[in-house]
Amino acid sequence: MSDTHAQSVAFVRDTMIPEQAPPASEAGIIKWMRENLFSGWFNTILTLVSLYFIYQIVTSAYPWFANGIWTTSSLAECREALDGMTGACFSVLTERWNQLLFGFQYPNDAYWRPTLAFFLLIVALVPVLYPKAPRNMLIFTAIYPFLAFWLIWGGTILIPIVAMLGFVGGYFAFKQFDHQSFAMGLLAGVIAAVVVWWVGGFATGAAPNLLALEAVPSRDMGGFMLNMILGTVCVALSLPIGIVLALGRQSHMPIIKWICVIFIEFIRGVPLITLLFVANVVLAYFLPPGTNFDLILRVIIMITLFASAYIAEVIRGGLAALPRGQYEAADSLGLDYAQSTRLIIMPQALKISIPGIVNVAVGLFKDTVLVSVISMFDLVGMIRGPILASTEWNGVYWELWGFAVFVFFIVCFSISKYSQWLERQLATDHR
């Protein structure tokens, strides 16, 4: 520093002023609140209204939860135990827990079977849901449907084994003829499977009690188990059908295209409940005289058709979003239609359609409660029917409906969170 200006200027600062802390209103939580909660009269009103709303909810819900009674066997006892205080009678949930989960007809000593099937479902889903899980776990996933059928419905183990052997035989026959053409392989696979099932029918007939669990008829299924069964079975079945329908709708063959278009538009145009009415009262007219399908099977058929139309539309969106160059590149490699679809088109189209497929799956799972309208006792049907109509629990609304909301929210919300996670995992393009 020179003192050139020592005479002309009274004072020259030659050091930096130390950094000052920002004013209290512009720092930390106060700043955040000013910007986010009170940045204007309208925002302030909104904040105050919201805070009041939250306060109301908390003050009325907290004693209700905190005073909750978990161990009485009827509403009257619960009211007595509460003694005039505000409080929830959660004892309806504990007392009717098994009914809520399994319905009121499933044999009590067999509750372990659907429970086991549920936990095995989680194991079976791991390799499907997490791309990083060991690949040979997929073998268990392939076995799972047959195992679950045996566990839930009971009966001899031969039926699911024969069914599975049919698929295995079909798969090997398909592999054998696949190199000729996809259609030949498919035909051989179907023939082999039918032969195995036909032969296996004799084996099952010969030993009907081999490793048999107590058989449970379909009409005894109920509670949340029924929702889970309908949801998983229908989503799993509607995926392949939806893929075929989407491909058919994109096809250049007019007849096949129009069959698919009419089917999809018809299904999407009517409410699910009319389709359930069809399953309930009309479908029997279209089956051969004397056959007697389970109601649950008829409902599965109709819900699967319903879901597959929606999934077809989602996948069609994925197919349309694929750049034209992908189709042309596959053609220029000399791949035929089946090869290019399997190896090039579908993997990419499915990846694009994952969010849509998950949306359909969540919607479908929610729609399974509609079966309560055609007097099947799923979770909602159990609450509306046997539980609310019983003398012990007539008048318990909040606890039961709160439970239903809680269960569906947990399942559907976690599915949609999973799909967001998977989308990020699969995003292989550079952004």
């Binding site: 250049h252 069959i259 145009g269 409410p271 009319t274 009415f277 005289p289 053609d331 509609l370 409906w401």
Partner: protein, 404 residues
């Protein structure tokens, strides 16, 4: 699909139907058609046999016969002596009524929530996302039943309004919210009321004309004409003037407690209200997401460009952001309306007599004509869906970005 086949060589051979890509598609289509026809024939044959075994036939005669059941909420005159056809018409109108009311309320709530989810107020944002996630992830049937249960359990019964120290009282002495339903005053149109209504309609037409004129003036001459206050004035003043000039021809009939129930006024059953509210708040959660996505889809550059032209914030919203956001919002919005209409068939769970309740419910059970009833039911919903999607296509073509 493929165009890489060899050039035609020689005459047509039968094997080319399978091996030649030019002809193979004919084989596939023929097989598909054959399978379809065979499948249809099989189902049809089963149907004929089953009907013969049950001694039934397909006939729509029953639609002309007296229905023999009462409907508790009707928009058109109906008695239990009316025909099944009239019962179905009552059902159709009830379906359309709840769908219409539901669409309006769902749009209002949905737009409000969608905008508030983008608010910079942290608490409001969180509350709105909680609302959206909870309502989206729980079946609408559960919401319908919950709201119905709340109505019955929480709201007072009409008898609670009786006596001097009644437990419940009417709101403004005009509205009664009871567990059975809502009562509100009904307008009574006296002589001369037609003039008032005509003046009111004319002033609404006038508002639209004024707005059109203002838009034209803005685009052609760059002239800004205020529309908000004139519109409000036009909405109220002529109609009120006409009302008093004609000597107050329109009166209100208030609901009154007689005996155990209210008489007079407009009565909306609890089932209608529960269905309406539940469908609205459920669909609103989806609409809120569409609105949010639509607003986020307008790139920030558009707002900044408009600001750099010197436009004020509300003009930016009206003239730049909203027109572009609406293009994104409206198609999913309309499919939400369709979903709401289809979900209104859940009315049967709370006993609201929509088409599913009349034609698909009581008529079906009374006449046993399951196939006919369900075919008609499906046709009705299919018609609505196809009409709405046709309208949507027209709209989409109208607002499509004109590129190249």
């Amino acid at each position: 699909m493929s165009t890489y086949s060899d050039p035609p060589s020689g005459s047509f051979q039968l094997s080319m139907l399978i091996n030649d890509t030019r002809y193979r598609s004919y084989t596939f289509q023929f097989v598909a058609l054959l399978l379809l026809v065979l499948g249809m024939a099989y189902l049809g044959w089963n149907l004929v046999q089953n009907l013969a075994a049950a001694g039934l036939n397909i006939s729509y005669q029953f639609l002309g016969e007296p229905a023999g059941y009462d409907i508790n909420q009707t928009l058109i005159p109906y008695t239990s002596q009316s025909s099944h056809w009239q019962a179905s018409m009552v059902g159709v109108l009830n379906t359309l009524l709840v769908a219409f009311l539901g669409c309006i309320m769902a749009t209002i709530i949905g737009v409000a929530v969608g905008v508030l989810r983008l608010s910079n107020n942290w608490i409001v944002r969180q509350l709105m996302s909680i609302y959206v996630e909870i309502f989206r992830n729980v079946p609408v049937l559960v919401w319908i039943l919950i709201i119905m249960a709340i109505f019955i359990a929480v709201l007072p019964q009409p008898r609670d309004f009786r006596g001097d120290d009644a437990e419940a009282s009417m709101f403004l002495n005009a509205f009664a919210f009871t567990g059975r339903g809502f009562y509100s005053p009904a307008p009574i149109f006296g002589p001369g009321s037609g003039v008032v209504v005509a003046v009111f309609l004319a002033s609404i037409a006038g508002i639209f004309a004024l707005r059109n004129y203002a838009t034209k003036a803005l685009y052609q001459r760059g002239q800004l004409i205020p529309t908000l206050w004139p519109s409000i004035a036009l909405f109220f003043i002529p109609a009120i003037l006409a009302f008093y000039i004609m000597g107050r021809p329109i009166g209100l009939e208030y609901p009154e407690l007689r005996g155990f129930n209210f008489q007079g006024g407009v009565f909306m059953r609890n089932s209608l209200i529960a269905l309406w509210f539940a469908l609205s708040i459920y669909t609103a959660a989806f609409i809120a997401e569409n609105v949010r996505a639509g607003i986020l889809a307008v790139s920030k550059g558009q707002t900044e460009a408009a600001a750099s032209l010197g436009m004020r914030p509300n003009r930016i919203m009206n003239l730049v952001v909203l027109p572009q956001a609406l293009r994104v919002i409206i198609p999913p919005l309309i499919s939400q309306y369709l979903n709401l209409t289809k979900n209104s068939s859940l009315a049967i769970a709370v006993g609201y007599m929509d088409l599913t309740g009349t034609l698909g419910g009581i008529t079906l059970n009374q006449t046993g004509r399951a196939i006919e009833c369900i075919v008609l039911l499906m046709l009705f919903y299919l018609t609505i869906s196809l009409v709405i999607s046709a309208l949507m296509n027209v709209y989409n073509n109208a607002v499509k970005l004109k590129e190249r």
